[in-house]
Symmetry: C2
Subunit: 480 residues, 2 copies
């Protein structure tokens, strides 16, 4: 039990220092390791396995909605990046520049892609000529680079992994439908598979993606009451098409500009999982993306029959499609309990000689540490049901946290009071639509606009800042 | 049929110009498209889907042999690249250098990884302390950059996709076993799934990976008689461990240096598939990695019941795990035949009203254009058997080409004569082991050493060049 104690002491508690608690989990659960490459990290096997599960599920959802994967170069020539004015303004200050190949200076600098709209546009211009070539529904799984000043594992790093969807359509309507559809796919993914409740909304003008007509996002609330943007979906209109000379011959034989979208989710989702579900014992993983969904801990494993039974149970669970591990190492049971709590394994199964005699075992669910006794001969069904129970349990807990921390306010003073008394959270407040009011809210209260939720309510008819006619309900918050 | 003719005319015949035939296929089968990023390419959906199948199968083989995926940064600080002398000498002349982040000059240049040994070593030094931390069996799926002067799609590009396995072991024996095991995995993969026969061997000293003690490779012979290195596996000894200060406490409580390996396969495999199996009608894909394994062409599809039957057959084949597409577009049957021949779809199924009446359909296998009639009610089994037949058929054809083009020679004149009379191919000839003889063979005959095959034969006891005592049988050839 000495080991057990030691491990738990190793994490800072979240109440003491949430930021330190977060990085402690990243390290102790062996998700990442720092490197001498400033702002970049090693994603270790346990962290990468979570990402592989995210990828597999999302990729399936993309393919089901008709998307195909491609792969663009990682470099963008400076002249190509500059073709769309807003886009280059937004990204040029934060790109990494390649200036030399071997010992030779390049004729033209190349940036490492911060995002790939410009490359997709160049490609579209090559392959799209007729309405018969539309739509193209593309996606790629790659890493991108943005030269951030301050970085944190998963949340903000100079290189991060993501998927970027890029689509091009004959009409604006089709492109807008696509933008909204993918926002829906993102929300479903977060809620169903990551058990993270999200708010679907539109970004304000000042918060749009560089070059977009409109940016949609899903916003989640972390355990500490700060908001995290979990995915974005952009509608570009025909701005990029005009900048890159992409045109198609319509059915009516006219030359038309097509309409585009892009949408992305990143390894940041792993940060969202940690900060939504984690606790002072470590990670709590949503079963759908947990590398190990159930761990079997043999008790008194030196006794005859225990390890054999553990192996038998493992085989049965595996057959039922459950990702299961037996830990038959020489570490103490207490050490093992702590270890798999730290790693957030949703279900722990303890099985010893007496359990085997009784045809039973003990099941402990990670998120609430509830113990129950289960029959060995129906274990696979029980574990499958427990995994669903865990997903629902952590989803409801996260939803409860968000409700508790969502404050409807009608004056700036109310915002300040709510934040002071109840801590950080989402502020729901009305807004007139003017950028100066948006800025002033932030200046005075510290919360910025997160999104204009698609589900609008009218909690007042006046802008919380200027008192003039309100145009939108806005979610405000401090953000990661 | 006009369309049919047009498409076939679009490819240069391989007898006329093999290099042109190759790039024609890359473009016409929609595998890649050029970009304004010199030496880099877009991998289009059809090309990328082949890579996804390669990835899925190989990744499964890696996991079955105990490997875990990780992800290292894409950048390497110059000082880190320089830590191992041979390694930096080999790679520094061909790396891309990042010198600026945004508008600021970096304190230290970063190269875009040409390969990641140095990053793995830095990570090992952080996480390996005891014999209990060994072995680590890692892999990553990423892209790397090498600043090549002349490039060709898939075969040689400035950026390419690959997997790089990196492992670290307590003993030299374990590491050598790993190196050889992964060479075996590569050979099995190529032969079973890509239907490409390969020669397993060791590289000569002059041809080793920068920093390796020994490099193993699998060599394949392309249709034109040129050799292609399809995968490599390196044993590093403890050279990197010493350069990077990686040490572990042994069971006997002594500080020891561990031993390392790395191994990689790349998108070059797609080039190997094209040049091994392709013909003058286009691509011929091995069934295991074909994005579409069977295409159903409805004949007289306007007739009642034809499209319904096609959809029903598609559902049945899908249920049997076959990747199948129905082309019910308005293009002519002739156009469709050409299109799917160009795309290398292994099996074509033609089904029209009369076939349906008879409960039959026509099956055509792409590689030999053989037609047969199959019963509709057992179509899934028939197609599965045909796919195996295709794999075996194209493997045997490739093996036959290699045998026909492998020439055992005992004098340099014989080499020249064989190449002149029979065309390019593998030369089997004995070698004393001296680099000057290796160089001289190349200078005089034009063929370089490809590998020292693991299956050694003694076709003479004298070096083909100097006539002194032979040490090894060597495969020689011109290479891609």
């Amino acid at each position: 039990m000495a080991n057990d104690k030691k491990m738990v002491e190793d994490i800072t508690s979240m109440e003491e220092d949430f930021a330190k608690w977060y990085t402690d989990i990243c390290k102790k659960a062996e998700l990442v390791e720092y490197t001498s490459v400033k702002g970049c990290m090693v994603i270790r096997p346990y962290g990468y396995a979570i990402w592989e599960n995210i990828q597999r599920i999302l990729d399936g959802m993309f393919k089901e909605t008709g998307h195909e994967n491609v792969c663009m170069p990682m470099f963008i020539p400076e002249s190509l990046l500059q073709k769309e004015k807003d886009h280059v303004e937004g990204f040029a200050p934060e790109v990494a520049w390649v200036t030399h190949g071997g010992s030779e200076k390049l004729e033209e600098r190349l940036c490492v892609r911060p995002t790939s709209e410009t490359l997709f546009c160049e490609h579209y211009a090559n392959i799209i000529h007729s309405h018969r070539d539309l739509p193209k529904l593309y996606n790629q799984w790659v890493s991108v680079v943005r030269w951030e000043k301050t970085t944190r594992p998963f949340l903000r790093s100079r290189e991060f992994l993501w998927q970027e969807g890029h689509t091009i359509h004959a009409t604006a309507e089709e492109a807008i439908t696509e933008t909204e559809k993918m926002l829906g796919v993102y929300a479903d993914f977060c809620e169903q598979y990551l058990a993270i409740p999200v708010v679907k909304g539109k970004k304000t003008e000042s918060d749009k993606f560089a070059g977009a007509v409109s940016t949609y996002a899903i916003e989640a609330l972390m355990h500490d009451g700060k908001a995290l943007q979990a995915g974005t979906s952009h509608y570009f209109g025909d701005g990029f098409a005009k900048a890159f000379g992409i045109q198609y011959q319509s059915k009516e034989n006219k030359l038309e500009y097509p309409h585009q979208t892009s949408w992305g989710m990143t390894t940041r989702l792993i940060g969202a999982i940690i900060m939504t579900h984690g606790d002072n014992n470590g990670l709590v993983l949503p079963p759908a993306v947990a590398p190990i969904q159930a761990v079997i801990i043999p008790v008194a494993q030196h006794k005859p029959g225990v390890l054999e039974k553990a192996a038998e149970l493992q085989a049965e669970l595996q057959k039922a499609g459950i990702r299961v591990k037996v830990d038959d190492s020489n570490n103490s049971a207490g050490w093992k309990y702590s270890e798999y709590e730290m790693k957030g394994v949703p279900v722990r199964i303890e099985v010893g000689p007496r359990d085997i005699e009784n045809g039973e075992c003990v099941i402990v669910t990670r998120h609430n540490r509830e113990k129950s006794v289960a029959k060995l001969d129906t274990l696979a069904e029980t574990v499958a049901a427990k995994l669903q129970e865990v997903r629902d349990g952590i989803y409801n807990k996260a939803l409860e946290n968000r409700e508790k921390r969502t404050y409807a306010c009608t004056t700036l003073d109310e915002i300040t009071a709510a934040l002071n008394e109840k801590g950080d959270g989402f502020i729901k407040a009305m807004w007139c639509g003017k950028e100066e009011c948006e800025d002033k809210v932030k200046e005075i209260t510290g919360v910025g606009s997160r999104c204009i939720p698609l589900n609008q309510e009218e909690i007042s008819d006046k802008c919380i800042c200027c008192g003039e006619k309100a145009e939108h309900l806005v979610y405000w918050g401090k953000a990661y």
